[in-house]
């Protein structure tokens, strides 16, 4: 029965979209539409959660739709239930946020119908249980989000972004199509049950996994298929960017898990090498590029790339353990990955909302034009600070928990029998640590330049705080980040059925009564006696911090005097002397620059005595453009130009073509046996 409820929710979204087409042009429509989407996503969220807590036994239904003879199958199990929770949490938050934010929309008809349809598409992907329905839903999701990316289509760069996005999406779908083709076999048994029943030979399975990596990876943003994210995510309206970045990438992760862990049967150990390598590279490259960005939304998009890399590291570990029949570590790694999925959806949506609030308040997306917003937008500043701390994996917030669990899984790595993995796992661990540290740097920069310091433009000076809907959405997400960090045990227990159903094992029960001091502390697996308790850490921090403050205020002094900035005795009134985004990351750029970046600098320094101002330009490119996509595009266009000659032949030449082909075929006949 539950799956039908899910389908009803999808239907609800589609219905809202239809209504939106009808009433979109009225001024009140946006609040109405977003309110309705909020309700539906809350319903879907509730029932997904309920199904997940109810141990998530699979529940199926099929209709005589789709491919004839196969029909359209839908299924709800623990995995899809969990992702339903993730997606509809993000969806609900985005809808709530948009009730306020949507008022600023210029052309509502370009957003309102597609937003609920987009949510519906993502939900449908999770419910689909045969290749055809899956791909239809998958591509429907891409299409609607593409339309949303083009909501502001008058800016040429947005049109370009939409184009690149849709082409990448098409590429991904085609690779998934090929993967399903392998799984379904020549006689086309597309239903997932029959695929589960069949056991492909290792080579075919490996090929399928690679194709799945291409397909799901291009949607999730694995390097080098990540190029569309930093273009498309900023182009869309901020609540949509939040969905694309925080939620849709999770649907891609779901697709990978569904195929790699559910449909593909037993993995082979070296698959995990590939997944781990790609995941680690993605994490590091993603965050390095995020550091280099000045546009806040592009920065966030690149940081999404990084987080997806972290998730795939977890998945790779899970594959490795599973291939070696080490169920418990596998469960740990998978749970960690899923936990990170949840976390990232929370704080990335939060951060995009914050970026949207700043964008509407100042009209600026470039960090270099902001500053000092903590004074003008105090509430936004608080929630964004929580988001930044969470994404930087700082205890006691949630980002740390999932990364800690992944580290725990990594520490089990050396028990793997294969030498390749033994050397790979620590390396991945080091890279993960690197990316975590760089994340902290990245968000210190982002928050520091955006909210701290002195305003760099009048627009930033005049900013005002976001409306109450947007704020409440952000505060709710922040609260979730907090709770998931303080009581991770609850989340892990809720996640348990997923690992149970996929791997036949689960992490030990975390939250057990009666209440003891050890309550709600994470115990990854029995043999590693490590543990972490966010609750107690928080208590410690709060107690010692407040105690110290009170002590000093009570027994020492609380006298405070305001005065001008000291700045080592040389205060400079110009706001341009503050550290900017580019200057903040200059050391990191210098350290990693030569290897990973494609930096173009131009310095124009007037000679002494000249009065004209000097100038320094810096552009950091994604080298994958220069070394991969650029050449490919050029190749296609060049061959198009070459072939285009054939449009201008004379009739006689065309006849010659026909004649030649005829003779060729005749020769074939003559030569045939």
């Amino acid at each position: 029965m539950p799956v039908v409820v899910g389908l009803w929710c999808v239907a609800g979204f589609i219905a809202i979209a239809a209504v939106a087409i009808a009433i979109g042009r009225f001024s009140r429509a946006s609040a109405l539409i977003y309110g309705a989407s909020l309700l539906v996503s809350l319903a879907a969220l509730a029932f997904g959660l309920q199904h997940l807590i109810g141990a998530g036994f699979p529940d199926m239904v099929d209709y005589p739709l789709g491919v004839p003879g196969i029909g359209a199958h839908f299924r709800l199990d623990a995995l899809s239930a969990f992702f339903l929770v993730v997606i509809n949490l993000g969806g609900a938050a985005a809808s709530l946020y948009a009730i306020g934010y949507g008022r600023h929309e210029i052309a509502p008809l370009r957003v309102l119908p597609f937003f609920p349809a987009y949510l519906g598409g993502m939900n449908l992907v999770l419910l689909a249980d045969d290749a055809f329905s899956f791909l239809v839903a998958w591509e429907f999701m891409s299409l609607t989000s593409w339309a949303l990316v083009l909501a502001n289509h008058r800016a040429p760069e947005n049109v370009r972004a939409g184009y690149i996005y849709l082409v990448m999406a098409g590429f991904g779908t085609l690779s998934l199509l090929l993967a399903f083709g392998l799984l379904a076999g020549p006689d086309g048994s597309y239903a997932f049950e029959s695929i589960r029943a069949s056991h492909p030979v290792p080579f075919v399975a490996a090929l399928t996994l690679l194709l799945t990596l291409l397909g799901a990876g291009s949607k999730a943003g694995l390097v080098p298929l990540h190029v569309w994210l930093p273009l498309a995510h900023p182009a869309a309206p901020s609540h949509v960017s939040a969905l694309m970045s925080g939620v849709m990438t999770k649907v891609a992760v779901y697709g990978f898990i569904r195929i790699a862990f559910d449909l593909l049967g037993e993995p082979v150990w070296w698959w995990s090498l590939i997944v781990l390598a790609i995941g680690a590279i993605t994490a590091v490259i993603g965050i390095l590029y995020a550091l280099m960005q000045r546009d806040i939304k592009r920065l966030l998009a690149y940081s999404t790339v990084e987080n997806i890399g972290i998730v795939f590291i977890g998945l790779g570990l899970a594959l490795a353990f599973r291939a070696n029949k080490m169920e418990l570590p596998a469960a740990l790694a998978l749970t960690a990955a899923l936990f990170h999925v949840l976390n990232h959806s929370l704080y990335k949506s939060l951060l995009f909302f914050g970026a949207g609030a700043v964008l509407t308040a100042t009209g600026k997306r470039s960090l270099e034009d902001l500053g000092g917003l903590i004074h003008r937008m105090p509430n936004t500043a608080i929630v964004v600070l929580i988001g930044c701390a969470a994404i930087s994996a700082l205890p006691p917030l949630n980002g740390f928990v999932s990364e800690w669990m992944i580290f725990q899984a990594i520490l089990v790595g050396p028990q793997l029998p294969q030498w390749g993995l033994r050397f790979m796992v620590p390396t991945v661990g080091a890279l993960l640590a690197l990316s975590a540290a760089l994340t902290a740097a990245c968000f210190v920069k982002a928050y520091g330049v955006m909210f701290l310091g002195r305003p760099r433009t009048p627009a930033a000076e005049a900013a005002t705080d976001a409306d109450r809907f947007s704020l409440s959405a952000m505060f709710i997400l922040a609260a979730f980040c907090f709770c998931a960090g303080v009581l991770p045990g609850l989340v892990i227990d809720i996640l348990a059925p997923v690992a149970q159903s996929l791997l036949g094992a689960r992490m030990p029960v975390q939250v057990h009564l009666p209440f003891s001091l050890a309550w709600a502390s994470i115990l990854p697996i029995a043999e590693s006696r490590s543990s972490y308790n966010g609750f107690i850490i928080l208590a410690f921090l709060v107690i010692s911090g407040t105690f110290t403050a009170m002590f000093i205020h009570r027994f020492a002094t609380r006298a405070t005097r305001r005065s001008a900035i000291w700045d080592c005795g040389y205060p400079d009134p110009s706001v341009a002397t503050q550290y900017s985004s580019s200057s903040f990351v200059m050391p990191i750029r210098r350290v990693f620059g030569a290897t990973v970046f494609d930096v173009r600098r131009s310095l124009d320094m007037p000679r002494p005595g000249e009065t004209r101002p000097g100038s320094f330009h810096l552009k950091v490119w994604d080298p994958v453009w220069r070394y991969f996509y650029g050449p490919v595009a050029r190749l296609v266009l060049r061959s198009a130009t070459v072939l285009n000659q054939l449009q201008f032949l004379t009739i006689r030449r065309y006849l010659t073509l026909v004649f030649a082909t005829l003779i060729l075929l005749l020769m074939v006949v003559a030569a045939w046996r």
Binding site: T650, R652, L655, I663
Partner: protein, 223 residues
């Protein structure tokens, strides 16, 4: 009788093939038109002979059409066009006559090669006949693509079509042959008409392409 009938049919078909080669060889329009007329006559003769040996009287109609339309009407019409439109008397060749000849020989060889292994199910006469017909058709096509001059190409197409009729008449008891030959005559009439109306002079190559860019907006890079 069987042998004789066979020999005559063979002879006429062979004659048509030879005439096709002559067509390829010609380099002056008037002469070429005459050769074509001869081929048409040969065709009608062979069709008539088929009518006799298959005692299929309706083939005589076809023969008559071939004789009248292609032997007399169209050649004269083309003579007029050549004069009216002031088309050069010389024929522009794309590749030299000698080379064309060689290619033609190759085509003949190919068509024989194709027909030889055809099994016993098909009568020997039909087989030989088809070999010739195929050769004539291919030579006609070859002529169309190795000559730039409009009229020559029409002639090429028509000799191709002669080959068709030859094949059709050779096909024992094939229905609707007459209708087909009529239909083809109409088609050719269209072509001649088209040449005349659209003033397609020297070049049967499409009108100069560069002149068309402004209509098509097709040349050059995308912006």
């Amino acid at each position: 009788m069987r042998a004789l009938s066979f020999d005559i049919a063979h002879l006429l078909a062979g004659l048509m093939l030879v005439l096709s080669f002559l067509l390829l060889y010609q380099d002056r329009i008037t002469a070429m038109l005459n050769v074509f007329a001869m081929q048409a006559v040969a065709l009608s003769a062979s069709v008539a002979w088929q009518a006799v040996i298959q005692d299929a009287p309706h083939l005589l109609v076809t023969a008559a059409i071939a004789l009248v339309v292609k032997g007399i009407v169209i050649p004269t019409a083309l003579h007029r066009i050549v004069r009216k439109l002031g088309i050069h008397r010389e024929i522009e060749e794309v590749i030299g006559a000698g080379l064309t000849m060689l290619v033609g020989l190759g085509l003949v060889a190919l068509s024989i090669l194709l027909m030889l292994p055809v099994g016993e199910k098909v009568s020997i006469l039909v087989r030989e006949d088809l070999a010739f017909a195929l050769a004539v058709i291919l030579l006609g096509l070859l002529m169309m693509i190795t000559r730039r001059n409009a009229v020559t190409q029409i002639v090429g197409f028509m000799s191709l079509e002669n080959g068709l009729v030859l094949a059709a008449s050779g096909a024992k008891g094939m229905p609707l042959v007459v209708e087909f030959s009529v239909a083809f005559s109409v088609l050719i009439a269209f072509i001649v008409f088209g040449v005349f109306v659209f003033r397609i002079r020297e070049r049967f190559d499409s009108v100069d392409v560069s002149a068309l860019d402004r209509f098509r907006g097709e040349r050059g890079e995308q912006p």
